[in-house]
Amino acid sequence: MVKFTFTGGIHPYDGKDLSKDKPIKEYLPKGELIYPLSQHIGAMAKPIVKKGDKVLTGQKIAEADGYVSAPIYATVSGTVKAIEPRRTVTGDGVMSIVVENDEEYNEVIFNTPKPVEILLKDEIIQLIREAGVVGMGGAGFPTHVKLSPKNPEDIDFVIVNCAECEPYLTSDYRRMVEEPEKLVEGLKIILRLFEKARGILAVEDNKSDCAKRLRKLTEKEDRISVVSLKTKYPQGSERHLIYAVTGRAIHSSMLPADAGCIVNNVDTVVAVYHAVKEGKPVMHRIVTVSGDCIKNPCNYLVRIGTNYGELIEESGGFIKEPEKIISGGPMMGFALFDVNVPATKTSSALLCFSKDEVSGAKQTACINCGRCVEVCPGRVVPSRLAVLADRGEKEAFEKMNGMECCECGCCSYICPAKRQLTQSIKSMRRMILADRKKK
């Protein structure tokens, strides 16, 4: 049974009004650009340039190292300044190629591929792979791997995740408002790979204007339909999106393909369009710069590698002293202790808040109120799992379905005692996953 929603979830203040009506503005970076070699899940890319090399916009500077990996392209023209570890959004130092921007933006000549209609399936996947397309919703899983399931004929649905359920984020929304044609074309390209599958654009019902527009655009496409989802966080979670759209439920160790589904984010599908129609690699990303500290919240078309600090300046700087700066959404994003880190393929937002709601809240005893159980989309018991995690009881943790947690953060959000439930559960899951790898 299809419900267009799931059980559990939360309704935080969404803050989207700050930036939702701001058209996408292209931002041209000034200083150096930093390209971490790991902007995706899988093996780190291998640099194919060295210090002192001149590079052009759109030139490949690192190639995929293995099947589950992705190449990286320069997004400005200039000189390779260094190949050294640089800090990324997670705070880790990651080996990166640093390019000094000559601000001339000289482009390589992109080869326009053959028309899609005559491309073979393998050629399409090869184009996507070469362009360095990865899951741009945040996970960064290489898209060519996702599009090559074991049994392609068993795929019934290709779902485009247009939920954008994270508060404050409007990058996907602006993309749908301004370039819905590219989204539909991108989906049609993916549908060429799966003859039997239906394409579904799943939009939350707080973006009904987009849904209307997309419906109009796909009127004549019998294989594509637009679905309105109930607005709720985490509606964009892959497993919950599949359930909302198809009624099929998968647990944590299953793949969407096991339920006959392939799910891609809006920007990923647009990247597929650029790759296959125009032969252009992934060079841009729409980033929402917002939050109560930002003078002019805005949506920028950002060249990958751009320093976040420049984006804050471009938005007019701070009107209030920020206490917390987040890369990504407030529910799943990373808190930054330094804004001088690069935007990557998976960046979606830069949020600056004058109040840090986490450090400001004092943790008190669990009162067993059960709110975490009510909101948990994984249908587990977060308060108990967190206790087991803190005690280090791995076996009991797994027995109580601890590995089924999707780390969405609903439990920590709702907890009246302000306990760091997600954090405890998350670190326990990491430990167990590491143990499994060892075996």
Partner: protein
């Protein structure tokens, strides 16, 4: 701008709900029953309430100090415990006994087991039973200036007829806070509207109790008999304010269904077949003790493993 920003694990936003707010809303929700009790029984009842609440708060504060821990009285939970205990006492109960009960509730039932959220039994009910065993004569003496006869439930047990309307309004003898069904339900509606409690436990508790009475009560489906039982004694106060106590009810949804039905059946057994007219306190306490077992058998299925619809 600071050189280094604050970092923390996601999520980075928090809801407005807090433990203090929840406890405060329970206190507010108990106000109709409290005020009605004072109006019904007179100023001594007010004094009894104030003393019990004060002792409860003070004993938590002193306990924390003795254990060299920061005082937890600001979370208001001791106020809730003290108030609930007072509402469960007869209107002319001696002050020193009430204070002793409050100390027992806070120190023995709550703090010794780890404080807020860790107690295995509702502190107010634990104390009530402690007082019942220790001072049975005082605990069952409900005569006062306004009401000289027995409580409605005792009268019913003796085969006398009762006025159901008086019971619904609360113009009968009994403990300070239990008599008025209207006042209690008013407060419960407030909590339900705020989302602090829901109807799962109280609804099933009352429903299963009513079904039990219909089947075993010897009156069949007799509306006035059943409504007298529902309005009488501590059932309403117990169902809405004590069976829903977070710390001592199951946290799982299916567990709450089991718990609600269990309480209804136990209350029915105690009221129909027990020696006393009342049974709510003991039913809830036994329910409390079974919570770990109930939770164990009612662990939800995870999403993708059959639990997505639950």
């Amino acid at each position: 701008m600071k050189e280094k920003m604050e970092v923390s694990s996601n999520p980075h936003i928090r809801s407005k709900d807090s433990t203090d707010n929840i406890m405060l809303s329970v206190v507010i929700a108990l106000m109709p029953a409290t005020l009605f009790g004072v109006w019904n029984f007179g100023w001594y009842a007010a004094l009894l309430i104030v003393v019990t609440v004060f002792t409860a708060v003070l004993s938590e504060h002193i306990f924390c100090k003795i254990c060299k821990k920061p005082s937890t009285v600001r979370d208001m939970s001791a106020v809730v415990t003290g108030l609930l205990l007072a509402l469960n006492l007869p209107p002319h109960f001696p002050l020193w006994m009430a204070s002793l009960g409050a100390v027992f509730a806070i120190v023995v039932v709550k703090m010794l087991f780890g404080g807020l959220g860790q107690n295995f039994m509702n502190p107010a009910l634990g104390a009530r039973c402690f007082l019942m065993i220790s001072f049975a004569r005082y605990m069952t003496d409900f005569t006062c200036d306004a009401y000289t006869q027995a409580t409605p439930l005792t009268a019913m047990k003796a085969g006398q007829s009762v006025n159901v309307l008086d019971m619904v309004i609360g113009r009968t003898g009994g403990t300070i806070g239990e008599t008025s069904m209207i006042a209690i339900v008013l407060g419960a509606c407030f909590l339900i509207a705020l989302g602090v409690i829901d109807l799962k436990i109280p609804g099933l508790y009352l429903a299963s109790f009513a079904v039990f009475l219909t089947v075993f009560g010897g009156h069949g489906f007799d509306v006035s008999f059943i409504s007298a039982h529902l309005a009488g004694g501590g059932l309403m106060l117990g169902a809405f304010f004590m069976a829903t106590d977070y710390a001592t009810r199951p946290i799982t949804k299916n567990g709450q269904y089991i718990y609600g039905i269990l309480l209804g059946v136990l209350t029915g057994i105690f009221r129909l077949y027990g020696p006393g007219a009342e049974g709510v306190s003991y039913a809830i306490i036994i329910g409390n003790l079974l919570v770990p077992l109930i939770e164990k058998i009612s662990l939800p299925k995870a999403f993708g493993k059959g639990g997505e619809n639950a």
